[in-house]
Every structure is written in structure tokens, then in C-alpha cells.
């Protein structure tokens, strides 16, 4: 009997001593380990958001974002973590973007355990003495208005969102590209939906390519509270038109519009649909109504000179334009209503910032 007491006593004592010792150790090392992890993240953040003096951390829809602000407290960039599986390990990549989410500023590979000597080149390539980080550096200032692509054995065209893959580690490179593309898509959508965030709604569209064709050539871009405005003036310098882009989710795709307003935001001058991928033959009628023989663009034209002092509403038939009513396309009600919704949400928002 005494023997089994002794057994229990010795084991318990050992366990207690061990627990105590480790608790003390933990008290001592935990702050150090956490400080180190913070350091790693912070130094990575300051390298991917180089123009930011203040970085704010926010979680939106379970995604972590880091918003960077410059000295004037203006948004200067957004960073986020992109995670996914590489060739044989988990990859964690910190992606820093400009404030319109159309250009990658820099990426930083935080974690990877790819094949030593091959896949690890996505982080550093010791065989290139002059520029061991040539692979991640390819993402510096990369235009991402379209998904990033990788090319093999040929020069990459950076303006065309191309990067060069590493010979012998194509899968790791593909993984990096895929992970960034996928996360970027999701995160853009989140940022867009949460427009109260000081992030322009028009991110991700080839604005400077399309918009000049739609509005006057000598427009001026102005950013107010993080929102981009395209402003048109007449010869005397008086503002004649203010345009902005806005987007929302339609029946099955994201719809993006360019709204041209008169300078006091009381009336829509014209509306253009920049992007949509609705059901062909139904939702696509918001752009071109093939069932209406007299005027295929009747839906969009309804918005010309539409008063917006009150919210726009969508009705089934005989709309009164003076009441801010437009007619929905029968058979494409959801798409029609989305456009109205986008307008109601964005005009208020853009008007407030602009008139201030």
C-alpha cells in the first residue's frame, strides 16, 4: 500500500514541478515570441505599404485587412494575407496594394516550406547572386486589373499582368499566382460591398482606359475622402459634370456603372454600364434590349436627366420620371433593380463627400 502511495507521490510531484517550471518559462518567453511574430508582420507590412505612416488593422467579413494611411491621413494602400496550398506546403503571402486595388505594390512571402532549392526560390533564389528575390520582386508595381498570369521560358510583360515562372518550380509559382488572384477577387468584393470604408468603389476596372472614351477628354481626377471623382469643366473652368463609378451584385454577376451627375448632384446626366455578366438574353437587356426594336438602349436612356433629389424607384409599368421612377425590364427585374439600388446607395454617398 505504501508502495503505491509512493508511486503516485513521485509521479504527481514530478508533474507539478514540471508544470510550474514550464509556467515560469512561458511567462518569460511568451512575450518574446509574440513580439517576434509582431516584428515579422510589422516589418513585412511596412515593406508592402511603403507610403504609409499609420497602419490600421480591420476584420471585415472574416478577412483581415491592413489599411495604410499617409501623413495627411489619406488612405495610401491596403494589405492583406493570401493563404493557400503550394506544391507541398502551406503558403502565406502578404500582399500590399495601392488604394484602388488595381496595382500590387509589393508582396512578401511570410511562410513556405516548399521543396528546398526549387520551390523555395519563390522566396529567395540563392543561385541568383545579384537579385536573390527576383521572383517576389516581379510583383512590385504589377498591374492587376486583370488576373495575374505566369509565363514560362519567355520574357514576361509586366503591363499585361505577367510574371515569369521559376524553371523547375512551376507548380509553386502557379500556386503563388492562383492564391493571390483568388484572394484578390474575394477581398475586392468585400471592400466594394463595404463602401463606407474609405476605399473607392471603382477598384479593379480599367478606368483610365475606358472612362476617357465615355466622358470628355480633359477630365480631372479628384479623390475626396478616398472616393475618386472624374470632373469635367467648360472653357471658363466651371464644373459641368461629375462622374464616378459604383458597383453592386446583380442577378448573377457584379454590375458596375459609370454615373455622370450634374455638379450639384441633383440630376443624373447619363449612365453607362461598364461591366456586367448577367443571364444572356435576360439580364443583359439592361445594356442592349434585343426585344425592343425601336430603341435597344431604352433602359439606360431612362436615366438621362433623371432627378435624384429623392431615391430612384423601379416600377413595373408607366413610370413618372418626375417622381424618380424608371421602368424595370420584365423578365430581368432583379438586374434592373440592382442598377437602381447601386444608384441609390452610391449617389447619396458620393454627394455627401463631394458637396463637403
Amino acid at each position: 500500500m505504501t508502495k503505491s502511495y509512493k508511486l503516485i507521490l513521485v509521479l504527481t510531484m514530478t508533474a507539478i514541478l514540471s508544470g510550474l517550471l514550464l509556467s515560469f518559462l512561458n511567462l518569460h518567453t511568451k512575450p518574446l515570441i509574440e513580439a517576434h511574430q509582431d516584428n515579422v508582420l510589422n516589418s513585412a507590412l511596412s515593406s508592402v505599404l511603403p507610403n504609409s505612416v499609420k497602419i490600421e488593422e480591420k476584420i471585415i467579413e472574416n478577412q483581415q485587412f491592413y489599411f495604410g494611411y499617409d501623413k495627411q491621413n489619406r488612405m495610401s494602400g491596403v494589405a492583406f494575407l493570401a493563404e493557400g496550398n503550394g506544391f507541398q506546403s502551406k503558403l502565406r503571402i502578404l500582399v500590399g496594394m495601392d488604394e484602388t486595388l488595381t496595382r500590387i505594390v509589393k508582396i512578401k512571402i511570410l511562410e513556405q516550406k516548399e521543396t528546398p532549392g526549387l520551390g523555395t526560390k519563390i522566396e529567395t533564389d540563392p543561385s541568383s547572386r545579384s537579385n536573390p528575390e527576383w521572383f517576389p520582386n516581379q510583383f512590385d508595381n504589377l498591374n492587376v486589373r486583370q488576373p495575374i498570369r505566369y509565363v514560362k521560358n519567355q520574357a514576361a510583360d509586366k503591363n499585361n499582368s505577367e510574371i515569369m515562372a521559376i524553371t523547375g518550380a512551376t507548380i509553386s509559382c502557379k500556386a503563388v499566382v492562383d492564391i493571390i488572384n483568388a484572394t484578390l477577387n474575394i477581398n475586392r468584393e468585400i471592400i466594394r460591398k463595404n463602401t463606407d470604408l474609405a476605399c473607392p468603389a471603382g477598384a479593379g476596372v480599367p478606368e483610365d482606359e475606358i472612362i476617357p472614351n465615355l466622358i470628355a477628354e480633359d477630365y480631372e481626377i479628384k479623390v475626396i475622402e478616398g472616393k475618386s471623382y472624374y470632373i469635367n469643366r467648360d472653357n471658363s473652368g466651371k464644373v459641368t459634370e461629375v462622374a464616378f463609378t459604383a458597383s453592386g451584385v446583380g442577378f448573377q454577376s457584379r454590375i458596375k456603372v459609370l454615373v455622370c451627375m450634374n455638379p450639384d448632384f441633383s440630376e443624373i446626366q447619363s449612365l453607362r454600364i461598364l461591366e456586367q455578366n448577367e443571364t444572356p438574353g435576360c439580364g443583359t437587356r439592361i445594356v442592349k434590349d434585343t426585344k425592343n426594336e425601336t430603341d435597344q438602349e431604352w433602359f439606360i436612356k431612362q436615366f438621362n436627366s433623371l432627378k435624384v433629389t429623392q431615391p430612384v424607384t423601379c416600377v413595373e409599368k408607366s413610370p413618372k420620371k418626375s417622381n424618380g421612377e424608371v421602368q424595370a425590364i420584365s423578365g430581368a427585374t432583379v438586374s434592373s433593380e440592382t442598377i437602381v439600388e447601386i444608384l441609390n446607395n452610391s449617389i447619396q454617398n458620393y454627394r455627401d463627400s463631394y458637396l463637403k
Binding site: K3, K6, L7, V10, L11, T14, A15, S18, L21, L22, L25, N26, H28, T29, L32, I33, H36, V40, K113, T115, P116, G117, L118, P126, S127
Partner: protein
Amino acid sequence: MAKKITLSREFLKGLWDENPVLRMLLGLCPALAVTNSGINGLSMGLAVIFTLVMSSAIISLARNIIPKEVRIPTFIIVIATFVTIADKMLAAYFPDISKALGPFVPLIVVNCIILGRQEAFASKNSVGRAVIDALGMSIGFTITLTILGSFRELFGVGTIFAVQIMPDSFEPLMVMVLQPGAFLTLGLMIGIGNWLNARRAK
């Protein structure tokens, strides 16, 4: 005088005659897993030196208190405690090394060398001898791992401890730093060890 000779024998046996990796085939998991570079092999060795010496000292001190029936669990707790200390210290002060070794630091717990030395030596001998034995064994382990790591690094990357050795024209043998390289190199080292031993015996 006689005692002194045996003490140094106690130390030296771990380096060659009873070299844990090459002769006794113990602790092979870390020997294979973390030796893709010299520095990783050395760091793993140092962690093992710390754990083995500390556990041997404690267990040898407590050898008369620990009942025979519960000796294995007690050993394991003691070892696991020191392994955790080594692990956390590495993470706190040498985060890069800790990242490179990954879960193989906590896995020192089940490194047969450590439990084996407790069972075979520390629990039966005085503190001084236990520590000397532990030092010899773990240093033998460290040297083996460092050589293994450096060899693989030299042929796989062309460097030793990150210092360029091979000429620029040398095309690295990638396989050496990959998993097969670990097995092949260790097999080669064991074979050479056997040959040297046989020559010495003659």
C-alpha cells in the same frame, strides 16, 4: 588515476564506439529530417545536448527516489519538460532556427537516444558520470549531424554554413537537400563508418 581514464572513456565512447547515429542507429529521425544544411544540423545537435545533459543530471540525482515501476513515465515527464524549455528558448531567441527545425524540436522527446541513455546509464550512475556520458553521446550526435548537414549542403546548394565553397560553374545536385539525399548520405556515412571501424580493429 584509473578512475580518470574511465571518465574520459565514458566521454569518448559517445563520439565513436557508441556513436548514437552511426553505430547504434538511434535518433535517426532528426538526423535525417533537419540535416539539409550544416547550421540546421548543428542547431538540432545543440538542442539535444541541452536536453540530454539536463535530463541525465536530474534523473541521476533523483535515481534513488524514483520507484522502478514508474520510472519510464517519470523520465518522459522530465525529458518533455527540458524539450519544451529548449523549444521555447529557441522560439524566443532564435526564431529563424526554430522555424527551420519546426516540429522536430518537440520531437526530441521521442528521440530514442535520450530515453535510452536515461534507462541504460543515468538511472544507474552518479551525477558526474551521467553528465559526462550525456555530453559524450550528445556531442557525438551533434558532430554526426553537422557533418551530415554540411555534406548535403555542399553538394545540394554548393555552400557550407552558407559560405560559398563550390565554384560558380558547379551545378547543385538538388537531390542531396531533398529527402532521398538524406537517406543516401546517411547510408553512405554508416557504410564508411563500418569500414573505418573495421580498419581500426585490424
